[in-house]
């Protein structure tokens, strides 16, 4: 049904989206790359001389970079482990027959809709605060010393908060995938004498592998850019203890106003994100053909 005429119309219909995204992608990206080669600080106006790789050298050899890189990996990895394992277990539970399934589902996915600044502040003040937080009461009740989560284990605390936000997403996706599992296959395996554990390992898990991959990849994209949760709880501290790459680049650019170094950091962040993106795009692309 596609005539020459309709092809032209289609091109016209698509072009606004394409042009906008093209500008959005290319203009700032080119500027970031360009800035990353200049000595450019907003606090020191004047000429911004070309310095080549100097900013990259400065950014990559700064001890803060290594800390931030490790923190980023710990944050992404920690949240992924918690949410994927938690999501599989919770998804399996919610897939069982029970009363009030719909309501439980609503309770479980709720945290996903809470804006990051709210969830971080509620956890920070009302739960993790060492004096008035609920955890402090709980510790007191159990006869333990209250623990100052955000100063003694800042990164771990943030991993906890972010996991709470993303567990619903993982659960929802994995539950959706589980519901498409053929129940007869499970029953047949059961009749053949397969125990619950081997049914899980040989039937459920392989069926979920695709959904798990999608969850891991999509969450990684978002988790690499965790920002608000760090900003309102620890400001990346104490020291650099909870600074991730995103926060470090933010601090270089908008707190220290070092545009050159910040841009170099931005380029590094883009390269890292792209490594993940390539895998994700392949997965989604395959699905498009199916």
């Amino acid at each position: 049904m596609a005539t020459q005429h309709s092809r032209t119309a289609a091109r016209l219909m698509i072009s606004p989206s394409v042009l906008l995204l093209l500008c959005w992608m290319i203009v700032p990206l080119a500027m970031t790359v360009y800035f990353s080669t200049l000595r450019y600080n907003l606090l020191m106006p004047g000429s911004n001389p070309f310095v080549g790789w100097e900013n990259y050298q400065y950014f990559l050899t700064d001890p803060a970079f290594l800390t931030a890189l490790v923190n980023t990996l710990l944050l992404v990895g920690g949240v992924l482990i918690i949410t994927v394992i938690g999501g599989i277990l919770l998804g399996m539970l919610l897939d069982q027959p029970m009363w009030g399934q719909g309501i439980v589902r609503i309770l479980v996915i709720a945290p996903f809709f809470v804006m990051p600044t709210v969830s971080a502040l509620v956890w920070k003040n009302m739960f993790m605060n060492p004096v008035n937080g609920l955890f402090a009461y709980l510790a007191e009740f159990l006869g333990l010393q209250p623990f100052d989560f955000l100063s003694q284990a800042p990164l771990l605390s943030i991993i906890g908060i972010v996991s709470w936000q993303w567990l619903p997403f993982a659960t929802l996706i994995l539950l959706t995938a589980m519901q498409s599992l053929d129940q007869e296959q499970l029953e047949a395996a059961e009749m053949d004498g397969a125990g619950a554990f081997s049914r899980f390992i040989y039937i459920v898990l392989p069926h979920l592998s695709r959904a798990v991959t999608v969850v891991i990849l999509i969450q990684t994209i978002f988790l690499l850019s965790v920002f608000a949760e760090i900003l309102v709880t620890t400001n990346g501290g104490p020291g650099n203890a909870s600074t991730n790459l995103t926060y470090l680049v933010y601090a270089e650019s908008l707190l220290r106003f070092d545009v050159g170094t910040g841009s170099a950091g931005g380029v590094v962040a883009i390269v890292l994100a792209n490594i993940v993106a390539i895998f994700l795009m392949r997965m989604i692309g395959k699905n498009l053909d199916a």
């Binding site: 990206l29 027959p97 029970m98 809709f113 600044t117 129940q183 920002f227």
Partner: protein, 276 residues
């Protein structure tokens, strides 16, 4: 699809699931409860559950001290504005890709998606500097522009997956019956496309409402939506639990309700159709 199980098993499932569900939901419940307490009751030791004098005072105080409604309105304008504009731009594109697919359609879709993979911090500096030089910093218009652009790929994708499910045969049938192209679009295609468009609007308003990188970095007092306004409670102000809770409850309530209605679209929209 659920298998027959013994009543004991079902009771056990129910108890366990409700326990976990309530634990996960607890921080939200606690925030809502605290918002109706006085500041003293909010930090009482031991914590008070339901047995307190319920008061709306915090809600009024938050509004009086910081003009809460202004930030709420900013959130509404920014999230709805960016979504509506995004959908208006994306509908024709998704429509064309779904109904007149060419050789490049798939590549185009994948390329659009790849723009979404760009970490925001990679373009923070130039966007900030551009906005500063053209006076878009701390304006609602600036945020509408940015959020439209960052959500455009998701909008195109969601609409595309919905449109693709509309059977093309029905168009040919309508044409056989003598429908003009105009009538074909208005009476045949549009009614079938409306649910998909509505779901896309819903999910994207949620995403834009909660977006907390650009809203925090590009706004100050004037155009700050709720995400940025609540962040100001990270200072000692946040230790006034009842007020923090009241501000938070109002910020999450509308979106929580919308979110519960969009569970299904969420899976589809956020996995780009990879899981259905």
């Amino acid at each position: 699809m659920s298998r027959a199980v013994t009543p004991q098993r079902k009771a056990f499932n129910t108890a366990l699931a409700w326990l976990i569900g309530l634990l996960i939901f607890f921080p939200i419940l606690w925030t809502v409860l605290t918002s109706f307490k006085t500041e003293a009751q909010a930090i009482a030791d031991p914590p008070i559950w339901f047995n307190f004098n319920w008061t709306l005072e915090n809600y009024f105080t938050v509004q009086e001290r910081s003009n809460y409604f202004r930030h709420f309105w900013n959130s509404v304008v920014i999230s709805v504005g960016s979504t509506v504009i995004g959908v208006a731009i994306a509908v024709p594109a998704a429509w064309a890709m779904a109904f007149v697919p060419g050789k490049q359609t798939k590549n185009l879709l994948m390329w659009m998606l790849s723009t979404k993979m760009l970490p925001p911090v990679g373009v923070l500096v130039p966007i900030y500097l551009i906005f500063r030089s053209v006076g878009l910093l701390d304006t609602k218009l600036g945020l509408v522009i940015v959020l439209t652009l960052i959500n455009l790929p998701i909008i195109v994708w969601m609409l595309y997956t919905y449109f693709r499910e509309i059977p093309v045969d029905i168009l040919e049938a309508a044409r056989m019956d003598g429908a003009s192209l105009r009538n074909e679009v208005i009476y045949v295609l549009l009614p079938m496309a409306v649910p998909g468009i509505a779901s896309t609007l819903l999910l994207n308003i949620i995403l834009a409402w909660n977006e907390a990188f650009w809203t925090l970095n590009l706004t100050a007092a004037k155009a700050a939506p709720l995400t940025a306004f609540i962040a100001s409670y990270s200072s000692p102000e946040g230790l006034f639990y009842a007020k923090l809770s009241a501000a938070s409850t109002m910020a999450i309530a509308p979106i929580l309700i919308m979110g519960w209605f969009s569970q299904k679209q969420l899976v589809r929209g956020l996995t780009f159709g990879a899981v259905k």
